[in-house]
Structures are given as structure tokens and as C-alpha cells.
Symmetry: C2
């Protein structure tokens, strides 16, 4: 064998059309995850490659907390790498999700993310990162604009109740700010229509910018 | 609107057949990335959904170092979250890649990873994590077993030279151990054949365990 066994292939990569990052943002209980999963369903039915990143699939892995890491990795490790709720921990939470969403986009998937992501700066950083690796249309911000009182009346996880009694501190919309997107690509009037109809608006937008194959 | 707008959809998820994590491990210069990209090419040609995670696409995003994070996020942030080369930082590097590979697997992709990943414990942790969310066949360890002298003579990035002169410390194979897999699903005799022929062995294995659709 000679070095020639490597030379021809090194650095060669499959060229795929990029997908897109569809970034849902909104209050807890606004319907982000519900609508994102509904978009995923519609895309899947039409044969589009898609995927949803949300708390359910990153909480125990990518962005595990100290409590989750400690039993397997020990306390020093958990202390160093577990994510908490400080300002920079929340920022890192969003940064990592953005980096992973970009990888999915690079793999050609229509990648739906559903996180409160309350801070404009964090969302804008992700937008910049994703678009810097492709084009401007690779990031679609979807503001699920559901009134606080509607979100609070839904309270699917009982979090607003805990925030109101003070059991949870720094809860977005109660004692921590939610910074609405200034120029989202899509604004959904959450709570005024069914998730399926809201999802159809997202699919229509993706079609209009040429992100659908079928 | 009533709560019914949410009830039917919440927690509903598209069910996809899982893909697979194909974890390449071996010394720097062993040909991991080259063979993984070659497998990716072969899979892509047969219409299989696949993707490669390697240093090229995680170094600036998911697993950014302090140096990469600092200009954008500041020094406190970079210090807290940037990954270095300490034992636990390396472990976290692999843990995150494993978590992301699992997400790709969950999205239905044949996910190829190409990292030295020298420690058995770290690889076994990823195996356990991936398999715990699916089945035993969701993780395929590929040991690219290329002799050190061959890797060192290739030295594509000039790293062995720097390790020998002491400019780089703790370099796998020189002054840090590489722990060979004890029971890899596939062992490739790196340096004895072309990357394409080695890649064909991987594709044949994936076919044999029913991971290919076409």
C-alpha cells in the first residue's frame, strides 16, 4: 500500500441541497411544539425529509442538566458541563441547538426547532450562524404569538402555576422577559385557529421560498 | 378558541424507522474520515439518507473551543463552555457527538461519525445511549485499524511531527493511549486497500443487518 490509498478521497464530501432551519419561538404553552410537530407530519406525508428538535429530545442528551449527567458521569463532570438556568447557560442551550439544527440543515432536512428562546440576541446569533453557512433563506423564524393569558390558561405542564406561586423563578412571561421577534418570517396568531391550519401557513411559506421538493 | 385547539396534537410525533450510528474510531491519519465519506457517497448514490459528522463540521459549532467562542460570546462564556483537551473536555466532546448522532439516527439517517475517540469507556457510553433509545443494532462500531507507522507516515495535518517534537502534548498514539475496541462490529485493515473497498465492507455489513432500504 502507498499513500495513494488516501489521496483521492480525502476531503471529498457528498454535495447535498441544504434544507432549512424553521425556528419556532414563543411563550411556554403557546403551541410551538404542537404546531412544529404538525408541520413535521404534513412534510412527512408529502415525502419531504424533516425532523423536530425540542425539549423532549435534547433535554436528556445534548443539553443535559447537572442532575441528568451526574449519575453517569460523576459530580465534577456534571458541575462543569451540566446546563442550568443562568443567563449564559440558557444562551449555551440555544447556541448548541442552533449548531445542531445547522447540521441537520446541512444534511438536507427541513429542521423544525421548538424552544421558548426568549432572547432576541440568541435567536439572531443562530440565524447568523446558519445563514453564514448557506444562504439567507436557510433560517425561517416563526413567532407563535399566543397571548400570555391563553398560554397561562392552558398551562399544560403546570409551570405557570408554579411560577405564580414562586416555586419556579425566572419564568418567561412571568418574572423573566420574552423579547418578541422584530421581523419574523412568519407570525402565527396562536390560539385563534387549529394547529393544523397554523401549520399549513408554515408549509405554504416554505413552498413559496422554494424549500419543498415535492 | 378553546383548549381543544391544542389537545389533539400535543405529544403527537411522526414515527420514522430509525437509522443507525456508524461510529468510526482509529488513530489520526488512519483514514476514518476518508472511509466514512466514501461510505456516505456510496449510500447517497443508492438513495439512502446518510450524513457524516466529523471534526470539519462540529469544530466551529457544536464543540467549539474557547478560542472560537470568545470573539462572539466573550471571555466568561468561552471559559465556561469552550472545550479544551483535558480528560473531561474530551469526554464531553464525544458525549455531545454521541447525543447528536442519536438525534440523526432518530431522524432516520445512516449517521457516520469520524473521530479518534480513543477511550473505550467514552465509546461504550455512546453505544449504550444510542441503543437504549432504540435497538442493539443501532450502533455499529468500525475500528479503522491502521498501524501507527502508516498513520505517522501519512501525517496529513502534520500533527504527528508536532507531537514528536513536543509542540503538541497528549497526542493519541504518541503520548496518550489509544484503546482499541474489544468487540467492534467491523474491523477494517486500514492501509491495505483503497478507501472505496474498505467502504464497501461497511456497506455490505449494513446490508446484512437490514439497515439499507434500497
Amino acid at each position: 500500500m502507498t499513500d495513494k490509498t488516501l489521496v483521492t478521497w480525502h476531503e471529498h464530501r457528498v454535495q447535498r441541497p441544504r434544507g432549512c432551519v424553521i425556528w419556532f419561538t414563543g411563550l411556554s404553552g403557546s403551541g410551538k411544539s404542537t404546531v412544529a410537530n404538525c408541520v413535521d407530519e404534513l412534510l412527512h406525508q408529502s415525502g419531504e425529509p424533516s425532523f423536530v428538535l425540542d425539549g423532549d429530545n435534547v433535554r436528556h442528551g445534548l443539553n443535559a442538566s447537572r442532575e441528568i449527567l451526574e449519575p453517569t458521569f460523576g459530580s465534577e463532570y456534571a458541575e462543569r458541563f451540566g446546563l442550568g438556568f443562568s443567563a449564559i447557560d440558557r444562551q449555551e442551550n440555544i447556541r448548541r441547538i442552533g449548531a445542531v439544527a445547522e447540521l441537520f440543515c446541512d444534511a438536507g432536512l427541513l429542521t423544525l426547532t421548538a424552544f421558548v428562546s426568549p432572547y432576541r440576541l440568541d435567536r439572531d446569533s443562530v440565524r447568523e450562524y446558519v445563514c453564514s453557512r448557506g444562504t439567507k433563506s436557510d433560517f425561517v423564524e416563526v413567532f407563535v404569538d399566543t397571548p400570555l393569558d391563553v398560554c397561562e390558561s392552558r398551562d399544560p405542564k403546570g409551570l405557570y402555576k408554579k411560577a405564580r406561586t414562586g416555586e419556579i423563578k425566572g419564568f418567561t412571561g412571568i418574572d423573566d422577559p420574552y423579547e418578541s421577534p422584530l421581523h419574523p418570517e412568519i407570525k402565527l396568531a396562536g390560539g385563534t385557529d387549529t394547529p393544523e391550519n397554523l401549520a399549513q401557513q408554515v408549509v405554504a411559506y416554505l413552498r413559496s421560498i422554494g424549500k419543498l421538493r415535492n
